[in-house]
Subunit: 116 residues, 2 copies
């Protein structure tokens, strides 16, 4: 049994091309004993975004705070605090916090631990 | 790509012995296409609790709102909005919202889809 919060989770800056204004934390990881899935949190500042990309694993999201966009191949969706999102394996996607927003967009992004 | 929120997720009342004052929702389920893991949400009213039990799968939790207790075999932990919890497979556990609290305790409880 393990309890933590974001203020205790180490912050890193994703270096993958196409990521701007993004901070990553992993409050529940394989290192904590999670056998199958982990909880990562991406915090995206106004004007920032994750890469527009796809990969062979899914994302399960919960929006902790802020507002932004989940961009797909042919569409984009407004997302905000309290929303849940599912991105399927192989789907192109990008999380964006538009310039001019006042608050960071913080999103739980749960994935299998081998993609932590 | 699928986006939803709790107000759109069907509510059910868990009937397992030992659950009191608990509502279950499954905003991201196998039925939505989630291949490995699902996001369930349990909302526990003040004075309510989940069963004190164990099972062969883990819980990954995020506390959406409220305050309460995560009870283990030999200890209990205060939990509240913003906390993340990991309950390992086989660990006895119970989520409680003590009588006298003013707000419901709402907790994301992510598990493998075969235990949805």
């Amino acid at each position: 049994m393990y309890i933590t919060s974001l203020d205790k989770a180490e912050k890193s800056i994703p270096t993958m091309p196409g990521a701007t204004g993004v901070t990553k934390q992993v409050p529940i990881s394989a290192g904590d004993g999670a056998p199958n899935y982990c909880f990562r949190v991406f915090t995206i500042e106004p004007g920032g975004n994750t890469p527009f990309h796809s990969h062979p694993f899914e994302h399960l999201n919960y929006v902790i705070s802020g507002q932004g966009l989940l961009v797909g191949e042919n569409d984009e969706h407004a997302i905000g605090k309290g929303d849940f999102c599912l991105v399927l394996p192989g789907e192109k996607h990008q999380y964006k916090n538009p310039q001019g927003n006042l608050e960071a967009l913080a999103v739980i992004c749960a994935v299998p631990v081998n993609y932590e």
